[in-house]
């Protein structure tokens, strides 16, 4: 049955492609079997909508008159510091940046009301944002101060470039201590008060292509309501972890670096986010199409929540101390049931990743493809796989002796 991406694209152009979501394909395979489903289906769409700290955007501000060299100076967008150590009027704003005068965790837990992710959301929403620059002045860039409103529509380029998104599986966070802790996995109540997880499970992009057989560098994707591309493997990409017999990683594994034109995006899919006591971030919507090139690939996309397992980790002690201990494994089927058992105790579960929004993304992408508005791409280079020999290195500290 082997199909090629070119053949699938031809069907998309003719409006004949059969596209289903990674949720719908489960029932289809149960009803028709793998062989028949693989013959019938051309594309399976995935989706995820989660806080993703490894996100940020590059902006080219345009040149003021007289010129100012923002590069090497200081720049603030709505009081949030942007990185200026690049070209004269390019800046980078990271999702976790916070204003210099943010109270942080001085009174714990700090609220972290506004940061880089919120500024990116406001820009995408076409709202004006205040730019303040202090520069040192040069012969060719004499100006030293700049204060102005900017709007995304007036910028030359606004590019979302996220170095790590779409984690292939993730920890389930609990708290074994006797006081509430505030983490990037949310508020964790004492004595196993709750268990928080963060993955779309059966809809999540990389869980549907566990060995990166179709998703690679250059893959065209849904990125925050616009069209983006996989730029590279994400930081901490770590394919060689414990996997289930079906191939699905049982630990955090692969990640993606993604890029796209911020001007096309929509604030519904790029939401400034505050993690109480932890910091600011941004919630990003990503959808990736998986071309059904073989029965094997279809079988991967039919994975269901009950077959995907995640490790339960104590965020009071084990995580901060980097101890490898886990408290067990649990399936997304159980997690989504609302309660799991940890150390013999029944624990309520909560998600940080929005499943309804992941469904919405997979459906939007499906519609784009059915309407012929979105064609698939052949990856330029595959992502490093299990055989690449990547090891996830901790930081080895070497004392600096004076």
């Amino acid at each position: 049955m082997a199909k090629t991406i070119a053949e699938i694209n031809e069907k998309i152009r003719q409006g004949q492609a059969v596209v289903v979501t990674a949720e719908e394909v489960i029932g289809l395979v149960a009803k028709k079997g793998v062989a028949r489903a693989a013959r019938e289906v051309d594309v399976v769409t995935t989706g995820t909508f989660s806080p993703m700290c490894g996100s940020g955007a590059f902006f080219n501000l345009g040149h003021s008159k007289p010129r100012i060299k923002v590069g090497g100076g200081r720049a603030y967008l709505n009081d949030v510091p942007a990185y200026t150590g690049i070209a004269a009027v390019d800046v980078f704003l990271g999702a976790t940046a916070i204003p210099d005068d943010d109270p942080r965790n001085r009174v714990h837990p700090g609220p972290f009301n506004y940061g880089g992710g919120h500024v990116i959301e406001e820009l995408v929403a076409r709202r004006d944002v205040r730019l303040v620059v202090a520069a040192y002045g040069t012969d060719c860039y004499p100006r030293k101060r700049l204060e102005t409103w900017i709007n995304i529509k007036d910028l030359n380029e606004a590019v979302l470039f996220n170095m790590r998104n779409a984690y292939q599986n993730y920890n389930v966070a609990v708290n074994l201590s006797d006081k509430t802790i505030y983490t990037y996995m949310g508020e964790l109540k004492p004595d196993l008060g709750n268990a928080n997880y963060c993955s779309a499970g059966q809809l999540s992009p990389l869980l549907n292509d566990p060995y990166y057989k179709t998703i690679g560098i250059g893959t065209r994707i849904f990125l925050a309501g616009g069209i983006g591309y996989v730029a590279w493997h994400g930081t901490q990409h770590n394919p060689d972890v414990l996997r289930s017999p079906g191939g699905v990683p049982r630990r955090g594994a692969g990640t993606l670096a993604v890029i796209g034109d911020l001007k096309q995006m929509n604030p519904r899919w790029l939401a400034g986010t505050s993690m109480l006591g932890y910091g600011c971030t941004i919630t990003v919507g990503i959808g990736i199409p998986i071309p059904i090139l073989s029965e094997e690939i279809l079988r991967y996309t039919a994975v269901k929540d009950e077959e995907i397992f995640a490790p339960i980790v104590d965020y009071a002690e084990a995580y901060p101390q980097r101890s490898p201990d886990i408290l067990g494994e649990v399936s997304y089927g159980e997690l989504k049931g609302g309660r799991i058992s940890v150390q013999g105790k029944e624990v309520l579960t909560a998600s940080l990743s929005s499943y309804p929004r992941a469904v919405e993304i997979a459906n939007m992408l499906k519609d784009w493809i059915i309407k012929g508005e979105f064609l698939l791409t052949e990856p330029v280079v595959p992502l490093p796989g299990v055989e690449a020999g990547i090891t996830f290195k901790p930081l080895k500290e070497r004392p600096i002796e004076e």
Partner: protein, 136 residues
């Protein structure tokens, strides 16, 4: 019937220098306890009052305030969900102590049952996109 209620009064600048509160005491027989006041000439004034008196006098007093152009809010505080910001992630369902925020297992959407909400505000800061808002 005697009643006692807490209200927030917003005075537009033109009314700040009028003896409105004096009238309230004199003409409507209301006893008032000023909980908070910030009134500067020519700027909008704000006053939080506890008003006590007969129901009839209270109602007439409120009507008088409205007629002068004072904006009145009751202090019965409310927590509401901004549906445009809620992503239905579900982070709040283990935080809300009353079940006012609860997951619909079928749609996986988080429903907000206002009638079960006690306005305890526990969900406000932990909500990642800050969709739960306190209204006065």
């Amino acid at each position: 019937m005697a009643i006692s209620k807490r209200v927030v009064l917003h005075f537009p600048p033109r009314l700040v220098e009028q003896p409105i509160i004096y009238q309230l005491v004199k003409d409507y027989n209301l006893v008032l306890n000023i909980l908070k006041a910030s009134v500067t000439p020519k700027e909008e004034g704000l006053m939080v009052l506890e008003l006590s008196g007969a129901r009839e006098d209270y109602d007439r007093g409120i009507q008088y305030l409205q007629e002068t152009g004072v904006r009145i809010q009751s202090l019965g505080q409310n927590v509401m969900r901004n549906d445009a910001r809620c992503t239905h992630c579900g982070a709040c369902v283990v935080i809300c102590p009353t079940g006012a925020l609860a997951l619909d297992p079928k749609t996986r959407m988080v429903n907000f049952y206002e009638d079960r909400c006690t306005a305890c505000e526990l969900c406000v800061l932990p909500c990642p996109p800050r969709a739960m808002e306190v209204h006065f």
